[in-house]
């Protein structure tokens, strides 16, 4: 492999030896002594659920909701008749389901492995954020940077708080939709989340309010942000507009092996919600997420979903197009490196006339990585004027990379139109050769080509994200050639 032009040749060397260097190699080595005051212990039972409810001082109805969900979770089998058998490696009895706020681990910046620090540096993450991301600081002090946004937002009447808090303080707003877009019994993991959820954000945007700045999970001072079982509910009332961002491009380190979030979006008449996720869990994490939005008349819900980390991610953001002329969109990028399986996709349920949906999914498989697209587009009877478009493109970098595509499309009636297209390709040797003639190293040429492949999607991301995303792809691509 040709040396990288980057000043930091140490990283390049490391990367040459190991394609995933700098991202997640040392994750398993995080060891630190922790005393949990409010520890639910490991394993899941009614006691665990009662404990969580009690610590959070929840009203009886939430506790009952949780207990009911636990029963559903226990009764449902793992979906291995279609999903990967890797799910069977999750030992539900060894998982800690709740660690309360303030009882989180403390580690010092010196404990953070060097390669991770270097990754932060190369991604250009501010000092303050680095410490938070590395888990050095239990919470990210956002006051300085974002207080004016927060203030501006609350003046507009936006409610932005944690799940339990919101359910207790504003039941009249949140209870109506909580667990309605994604019912407890939707799947085994949504049931699990319903039983043990903590953290996440509940947001309400009043009618006509357009939130000018994207809301981000770590605006809010709450250590539970990046919890294992986040529960998010965003309601945009009539004509409101909001963009929400979850996660960030920097690698996120976690000792917990199971993350199972539930995200519900409700866009009332004419509202617009854009939900951006950048998932970069460490490579020991099972990330099993249920995300769905409900779009009323003339509303638009757009999921922008980027999956780079984790061992196995299963996530199929969906939109139920309930009102006429509603629009649903999913734009997704998945990057699967050695040992990773990105099983992602989209669901579009058309339930009213003249609704439209658009799915664009791009995946990159590096080394022995495996990326899977699973999609569902459903247009039931007697609807008219519905349109749906799906494009899935897969890029395979190495000879042993793998990709799968499993869409399911149902159309009833003759007044709708649907198309689906997928392609699989590799980076052409001509292109790499040409760039090498122009003085780029093979690795640089490869990164450039991959960035070109995802470019039209990356452009849809907010600027800061797309810059970080590009750097991150460069990092992941290192060592994959030569």
């Amino acid at each position: 492999m040709n040396p990288l032009s980057d000043n930091d040749t140490t990283i390049a060397d490391e990367a040459a030896a190991n394609p995933v260097a700098g991202i997640d190699q040392e994750v398993g080595n995080f060891q630190y002594d922790v005393k949990y005051d409010f520890d639910a212990g490991s394993g899941l039972s009614e006691d665990t659920v009662n404990f969580i409810s009690q610590v959070k001082k929840e009203p009886e109805w939430i506790r009952e909701f949780r207990l009911k969900a636990l029963k559903v979770f226990e009764s449902k089998p793992l979906p291995t008749h279609w999903a990967t058998k890797d799910l069977e490696n999750i030992d539900f009895n060894k998982i800690r389901y709740y660690l309360s706020q303030g009882q989180r681990s403390k580690r010092s910046w010196d404990d953070v492995p060097d390669d991770i620090k270097k990754t932060f540096e190369r991604l250009g993450i501010p000092e303050q954020e680095r410490k938070f991301l590395a888990g050095v600081e239990a919470q990210f002090d956002s006051e300085a940077a974002y207080s004016n946004i927060k203030e501006a937002v609350s003046k507009q009447g936006v409610i932005f708080m944690s799940s339990t808090e919101a359910l207790m303080e504003h039941p009249e707003i949140f209870r109506k939709w909580f667990g309605k877009v994604i019912p407890t019994g939707d799947n085994k993991f949504s049931a699990l989340n319903s039983a043990v959820f903590s953290g996440g954000s509940f947001i309400y945007i009043p009618p006509g309010v357009k939130v000018s700045h994207p809301l981000q999970a770590y605006f809010r001072i709450n250590a539970e942000n990046f919890g294992q079982f986040e529960r998010t509910l965003i309601i945009a009332d009539e004509g409101a507009e909001v963009t929400y961002m979850e996660g960030c491009t920097a690698p996120k380190f976690s000792t917990a092996t199971l993350h199972s979030a539930v995200v519900e979006l409700v866009a009332m008449k004419g509202a617009k919600i854009q939900y951006i996720t950048v998932q970069n869990w460490s490579a020991n994490v099972f990330n099993l997420v249920t995300k769905r939005g409900l779009a009323h008349e003339d509303a638009t819900i757009k999921w922008i979903d980027c999956n780079i980390g984790s061992r196995l991610t299963m996530k199929y953001p969906g939109v139920v197009l309930k009102g006429e002329r509603a629009r649903g969109e999913v734009l997704s990028i998945a990057l699967a490196n050695d040992g990773q399986h990105q099983d992602t996709g989209a669901k579009m349920i058309h339930a009213a006339n003249n609704t439209t949906s658009n799915i664009i999914a791009k995946s990159i498989s590096v080394g022995q990585g495996r990326s899977t697209y699973r999609g569902l587009v459903h247009i039931p009877k007697h609807l008219k004027g519905c349109k749906s478009n799906t494009e899935c493109d897969a890029l395979l970098i190495n000879t042993n990379s793998r990709t799968d595509t499993y869409p399911a499309i149902t159309v009833k009636g003759d007044r709708n139109s649907i198309q689906h297209e997928a392609s699989v390709s590799k980076i052409s040797e001509d292109m790499i050769f040409y760039m090498q003639q122009r003085g780029l190293s093979e690795a640089e040429a490869m990164s450039l080509a991959v960035n070109g492949f995802v470019n039209d999607l990356v452009r849809e991301f907010p600027m800061e994200y797309s810059v970080e995303l590009k750097r991150l792809i460069d990092l992941e691509m290192e060592g994959s050639v030569g």
């Binding site: 009877k381 007697h382 009636g413 003759d414 007044r415 709708n416 689906h420 997928a422």
Partner: protein, 438 residues
């Protein structure tokens, strides 16, 4: 062998152990290895459960219409009792099988026989070319969800058609094979075995017809294309509108072989077709084509699998469905590219033309790619007749029914046009046209 009491009726339906023993009696003269395989197949059939709703291979299928109950074993019928329509084109020969028995045939020319071409029944071939039959008859696994029904087919397979074309022999004219089902509630198990040796060439037209009764048709075909051979297989399924039909295809293409299989689906109330192509050596090519005209409450369930097992192989799948009234179609396809099958070129396309507000089209086009230097694409569309096209035809004074027919023909032409034999091409068109007259 265990007693019949151990097998619950629901799992075997009309195909009880007694029925199977009676069938064995009738074919007792056939080679022992074949009878042994049939026994093993029956055991598999009797032990496998019926498909259930959660089975991925049966996703979207209307399982309430899949039953094994109420069918009778086929009784002999005479050729004169059939309303037989000949091949309709100049052919090299034909065989007619009714209820699994040979009722009429036209042998090949003396020249072809002298060159070693064998065309006749499977029972004959079992006696005279046992090794060939053993190597190729039902030799490929069932991988698309119908293990139970494939086992039933093997257990009850009575007689079918057999054609073997030796090395280097090119047959210019097609052979015609006719499978009939006659009599109320008759169960038939038609089979066609095509073996093209290296550099051979053969065209087979396979017809499936019945009287108006409610039949159970559980058939299969094996297409084996040796190195450098060319096989063209055209099936026209026109069972009665009350038939429950299963059809299993297994295609094997060796080095530089070209296989074209084209299935026209017209009959049956509920018809499931499973097509499994294996591209086993470099240069192999498989063309998988299908046309479906679905009307009334017909359901056509098509499941396909293209496996590229060697480098430099190609496949092209094009399935077109036209849906009228309350009909329903399911297309579920999968392309698998094995880890070493670099330079694969695979295409898969499902196009649905929906002509009624009550019709339903389901598409599940899948890919599993484990090699990076490949060109694999798939596409699926479902749409109505473009308003401009309809308007144009109407403005030329063409009535709506005819306009619909013309548009469907235009939609199908891309597929029909791939049939090299123009006379067979016209035959296909005639069956489609008839469907519009119903």
């Amino acid at each position: 062998m265990s007693t019949s009491a151990t097998t619950p009726a629901s799992i075997t339906g009309s195909f009880t152990r007694e029925a199977f023993e009676a069938h064995l009696q009738r074919v007792a003269h056939l080679p022992a290895w074949w009878l042994e395989r049939k026994r093993a197949a029956y055991e598999r059939f009797a032990s496998l459960p019926m498909p259930v709703r959660t089975d991925e291979y049966w996703r979207f299928s209307n399982l309430s219409r899949v039953t094994l109950d109420g069918f009778a074993s086929a009784a002999p019928v005479g050729f004169k009792d059939l309303t037989h329509e000949s091949l309709g084109v100049k052919g090299a020969g034909h065989v007619v099988l009714a209820n699994g028995r040979l009722v009429d045939s036209e042998p090949l020319s003396a020249d072809l026989i002298a060159r070693g071409v064998v065309f006749g029944t499977i029972q004959d071939a079992l006696a005279k070319h046992g090794d060939l039959v053993r190597e190729h008859l039902l030799a490929q696994p069932s991988r698309l969800g119908s293990e139970k029904f494939a086992a039933l087919h093997e257990a009850f397979l009575d007689d079918g058609a057999f054609i073997y074309v030796p090395k280097g022999v090119e047959m210019e004219l097609p052979v015609g094979i006719f499978h009939y089902a006659a009599g109320a509630g008759t169960a038939v198990f038609p089979h066609t075995l095509v073996i093209a040796d290296d550099n051979a060439k053969v065209t087979v037209a396979d017809f499936f017809r019945s009287d108006a009764g409610a039949h159970f048709a559980c058939g299969g075909n094996d297409l084996y294309a040796g190195h450098g051979s060319q096989v063209e297989y055209i099936a026209m399924q026109d069972w009665s509108r009350d038939t429950l039909s299963f059809q299993f295809n297994a295609t094997v293409a060796r080095r530089d072989a070209r296989v074209l299989s084209m299935n026209l689906h017209s009959g049956g109330r509920q018809s499931r077709h499973e097509s499994f192509s294996q591209l086993q050596a470099p240069g192999a090519h498989s063309e998988m084509l299908a046309l479906t005209v679905a009307h009334g409450d017909q359901e056509f369930d098509q499941r396909t699998l293209q496996i590229h097992q060697a480098p430099n192989t190609s496949s092209n799948l094009l399935y077109k469905n036209a849906l009228l009234e309350t009909s329903k179609t399911i297309f579920s396809g999968l392309i698998i590219v094995d880890p070493d099958a670099q330079k694969t070129d695979a295409y898969q396309s499902n196009r649905n033309l929906i002509l009624s507000d009550d019709a339903e089209a389901n598409s599940l086009p899948g890919l599993e790619i484990q090699a990076n230097d490949v060109r694999c694409t798939h596409g699926a569309t479902s749409a109505r007749i473009p308003a401009e096209q309809e308007f144009y035809l109407r403005s030329r004074g063409i009535n709506p029914a005819l306009a619909k027919e013309l548009i469907v023909f235009g939609f199908f032409e891309e597929v029909i046009g791939k049939i090299a034999n123009t006379e067979l091409h016209d035959q296909l068109a005639a069956i489609i046209r008839r469907k519009f007259k119903e």
